[in-house]
Amino acid sequence: MTTEAELTCREVVELLTDYLDDAIPTPERARLDAHLTACDGCSAALDQLRETIRVTGTLTEAQVAGERLEPIRSVFRAWRSETT
């Protein structure tokens, strides 16, 4: 039974990034917490999001080849010789 004040699951799943960033104002946060405690679907969705973040966090950035950084090393050395 949905009252106007109650969040629907469809709304909750769009708030989960804000929720994990602690960017939800207090009154709404309390409603969201209550919903997540009571709703198996939304707590599974929150878990999916957390795991998505965790898997993404295991990726690594491809490095730029060392020789392509040499022009920047030259910038640094030129700067250093001017300032010291």
Binding site: T2, T8, T17, G41, A44, T56, E61, Q63, L69, R80
Partner: protein, 214 residues
């Protein structure tokens, strides 16, 4: 972040740079370069121009080190210099890049298929019609396997550039939301919407891939 001086480590690094520590500088360059090249490339026409922007940025960073006060993180400060340079350069090239072309035109799209929820007119409209898969039963080695990670990498490669970069900086590199929005000159709302959309697409792809295991 450590208490009252969140960017104390950065101030220490700046001191080493000012003292001419080449190893410290090159380590920083190595860490930030891939992302800097991608960000510059969003605003200018070619990879070569993007590389020039990044080089100009590093010179600006070095000559401006005395102005860094630790009010933002060093990497945020560097990216602000970079986005200013790249945007100016893009404008000079007569290239105007609408925000939507970087951010994607799907920012309002729902995270889950709308049919996952009960429709209007039904009792409990907007609640789950079928519950999401429970990933908690997926073995850890499957979840973090190289195949699963390749799925994420594939989505990342297909995202609109600004969605991809926000996701990389937040979830791969571990930057805070404040750092990312300042670095990329985004509003707080846009940063979160971009992140949420990007994560939603990764989640959806993972769910499709992992479904057999759930």
């Amino acid at each position: 972040m450590d208490g009252d001086t969140p960017y104390a480590t950065d101030l220490a690094l700046v001191e080493r740079l000012r003292a001419g520590d080449e190893d410290a500088f090159m380590a920083l360059v190595e860490r930030l370069q891939p992302s800097m090249l991608r960000v510059a490339r969003m605003f200018v026409s070619t990879q070569a121009v993007a590389e020039e922007c990044v080089q100009e940025c590093w010179l600006g960073v070095l000559t401006g080190l005395g102005k860094f006060e630790g009010r933002s993180s060093l990497r945020t400060w560097i990216f602000r210099i970079l986005t200013n340079i790249a945007k100016t350069r893009g404008q000079r090239e007569g290239r105007s890049v609408p925000f939507a072309s970087l951010a994607g035109d799907d920012l309002d799209a729902p995270s889950y298929d709308p049919t996952t929820f009960l429709g209007e007119g039904e009792a409990a409209a907007g609640h789950w019609s079928s519950l999401p898969n429970d990933w908690r039963s997926i073995p850890e080695e499957r979840l973090l396997s190289s195949e699963t990670r390749a799925v994420v990498a594939g989505v990342l490669a297909s995202l609109p550039p600004m969605q991809a970069e926000v996701l990389r900086l937040r979830d791969v590199a571990g930057w805070t939301s404040d750092e990312v929005r300042n670095a990329l000159d985004l509003t707080e709302t846009n940063q979160r919407v971009l992140l949420h959309r990007a994560r939603a697409k990764v989640r959806r792809a993972l769910d499709g891939y992992l479904r057999d295991e759930a």
